[in-house]
């Protein structure tokens, strides 16, 4: 019953406004977190068993009649489901305390769950248009969530985000239409097989570019990134965490890789383009992050940079590169989620996001500082944390595939990453306590609990990287490395 991944959050979302009427805080908190906990358990525990014998293809039947709901769960989608559920759970735990002041918790969780449902749907969808639909589901929810604070900046950011991504989705639909026109189908399997038969040529190049715009904007690859540094910092912290940790990965990286690797097949041309996009994003965004004074804006640029890293790795196209990219996606989701959450703790405690105004907060907020440090070092690729292993695999893959220059770029990006994270550490946590914050208190229980959870995951995966890679990353990478065969051969309904 993998449709539960979509339906359950939706149903709970529908119920939440009612629940919110009954109880303003407790019930929404309980319902939302229970849902996500269930999703975590379902994905992490049952998921492995489900796909033990290859991908699960499920067509929902209702009243004995087959419906047009065809969901596919394979290694890659399961991997993404786990990521979504994990980070989603952490963010929703964080929201218990954090969203107190925003009011209308029921409404918040409803939007939140719709977004989760959208992402899950996208991951499980098996045709191009459904991907678009669920991408929009998550997007619409995210627009509202970005603007949830209703402040001036939030609105500005949400509006620009909306206006840019609507254009991109329009082009995406255009791309889908072109592919549909060429192949006559929308199913991944059908499209993949048809494209194999068809020597598409320039038309496919245009379609690819349209898809790249559509997904690339969601993934915030340079030059489609401009909305992200506005939108992610403006959102409430748990939403920032989910946007940076999940949304850009699911509706950006996942969709992109699924389409390009499994459906279109990674041609050398596409590979080169992805390498360049990834490299440019990784470096330029790292430089941009370096110049930020706003802690969350810095993190946002860092997300662009790291997604660039992921795309760079996937662009290599070798099994090792894909594995590295996916592992990095996973690690970045955890670490960036963690960082945004801690930035939320700091913002909540001090009321500011300006790094220059902070200072020495480690003294007053030791747990937040420690978890933030773990996240920062993890993303910067400092061992023994998880981010190190993924970056290592990526660089190894780049060198092995004969791209030493891109590997050097990756190394450079890594150094830049550490540079700005050290800047952040220095200005916010490390250093002498700014007297203004002498009375600041550590974040409340659920906030620290969720950051500690993510930090422990970062450390734990760093230490147990081997089993993580074999259990979760390799099956996902295998699907992608199979190229169109993974879809074309076995996904017939």
């Amino acid at each position: 019953m993998i449709i539960l991944f979509v339906v359950l959050p939706l149903v709970v979302a529908g119920l939440l406004p009612l629940a919110g009427k009954a109880s303003k805080r407790l019930l929404p908190d309980l319902l939302a977190n229970a849902t996500l906990l269930f999703l975590v358990a379902y994905a992490a525990v049952a998921g492995r068993a489900l796909i033990a014998d290859g991908p699960v293809l499920q067509q929902t039947t209702w009243l004995g009649e087959a419906l047009g709901i065809r969901l596919v769960l394979d290694g890659f989608s399961l991997f993404m489901l786990v990521v979504v559920a994990l980070v989603g759970l952490a963010a929703s735990l964080f929201s218990i305390d954090y969203m107190e002041h925003y009011g209308a918790k029921g409404n918040f969780y409803a939007l939140y769950l719709v977004m989760i449902a959208g992402m899950n749907g996208l991951v499980l969808a098996s045709d191009l248009f459904a991907v678009y639909v669920f991408l929009e589901v998550a997007a619409v929810a995210s627009y509202a969530l970005v603007a949830y604070g209703l402040g001036r900046d939030e609105l500005e950011a949400a509006f620009k985000y909306l206006m840019l991504s609507v254009v991109a989705s329009a082009f995406l639909v255009g791309g889908i239409a072109v592919v549909y026109g060429m192949t006559g189908g929308l199913d991944f399997a059908a499209v993949a097989m048809a494209l194999k038969e068809l020597n598409a040529g320039p038309a496919l190049a245009v379609a690819s570019a349209l898809f790249l715009l559509g997904f690339g904007l969601k993934a915030a690859l340079i030059p489609f990134h401009a909305w992200l540094p506005d939108a992610h910092p403006s959102a409430p912290a748990p939403i920032s965490a989910v946007l940076s940790g999940l949304l850009i990965k699911v509706s950006g990286v996942y969709a992109l890789t699924r389409v390009f690797l499994n459906v279109f097949g990674l041609t050398p041309a596409l590979s080169t383009v992805l390498l360049w996009l990834g490299a440019v994003s990784a470096v330029a965004a790292a430089f941009l992050a370096l110049g930020q004074k706003d802690i969350k804006r810095m993190l946002a640029y860092s997300s662009i940079s790291q997604v660039g890293y992921v795309v760079l790795a996937i662009g290599v196209g070798t099994p090792l590169g894909i594995a590295g990219g996916l592992f990095h996606l996973f690690n970045h989701a955890l670490a960036k989620g963690l960082l945004f959450l801690t930035s939320g703790s700091v913002q909540r405690a001090t009321g500011t996001r300006d790094l220059d105004a902070m200072g020495g907060l480690a003294k007053r907020m030791p747990v937040t500082a420690a978890t933030n440090l773990v996240g920062a070092l993890s993303i910067a690729g400092v061992p023994p944390l998880n981010g190190f292993w993924s970056k290592l695999i990526i660089i190894v893959a780049l060198v092995q595939a004969g791209h030493p220059v891109f590997a050097a770029v990756a190394v450079l990006a890594s150094v830049l990453t550490l540079w700005y994270y050290l800047l952040m550490q220095r200005k916010a946590f490390f250093g002498r306590l700014n007297e203004t914050w002498a009375a600041v208190r550590e974040a409340p229980f659920w906030m620290t609990a969720s950051t500690v959870l993510l930090a422990l995951l970062c450390v734990g995966i760093g230490i147990l990287f081997a089993s993580t890679v074999t259990t979760w990353v390799r099956p996902a990478a295998d699907v992608l490395a199979d190229g169109i065969h993974a879809v074309a051969g076995s996904w017939g309904f």
Binding site: G68, H101, L111, V114, D127, L150, G151, T183
Partner: protein
């Protein structure tokens, strides 16, 4: 086909008007008219449901939303549009139309496509057998929209 082409030309003209007109209300009405024309085009393409949707929802509902918004935001200064753009962009648009026409002429028949058999059945069958997931998506997106609007118009307790 000529009628269809003419309708499409009208559609484009109305759309350009909707953008170019200074007065917002008129723009909205031009947009509604454009939707109406598009609906007719859909009808003529053999897609009555799409046509109905286009006319009722886009020409109707969305236009109402637009007008409501325009009314709600009407007080205060007018937004001064760029004069330069008003001169340059029509020129660019005309140039694009020319290029567009040339490209389409050269492209004609060049886009490779697999010949596939057509589909059978009714719209309902296709919808239920083929695109049910889209319906789930529609429900989700409507939920999202509703919650979004609710969230955006909620009474703030207090925002620090």
């Amino acid at each position: 086909m000529i009628l269809q082409t003419a309708l499409l030309a009208v559609l484009v003209a109305l759309s350009v008007l909707a953008i170019a007109l200074k007065d917002l209300l008129r723009s909205a009405i031009a947009l509604a008219l454009a939707s109406l024309v598009l609906g007719i085009v859909f009808f003529r393409m053999g897609a009555p449901y799409a046509g109905v949707f286009e006319i009722s929802v886009v020409a109707g509902l969305i236009t109402v939303l637009f007008i409501l918004t325009i009314a709600l935001t009407k007080s205060g200064d007018e937004v001064r549009e760029s004069k330069l753009a008003n001169i340059v962009f029509p020129v660019v648009f005309v140039a694009f139309l020319a290029i567009d026409a040339l490209v389409m002429k050269r492209l004609m028949g060049k886009v490779p496509a697999l010949a596939r058999g057509g589909e059978a059945g009714t719209f309902g069958e296709v919808l239920w057998k083929g695109r049910t997931l889209d319906l789930v998506g529609q429900i989700a997106v409507i939920l999202a929209g509703v919650f979004a609007v609710l969230a955006l118009f909620r009474q703030r307790d207090k925002h620090e």
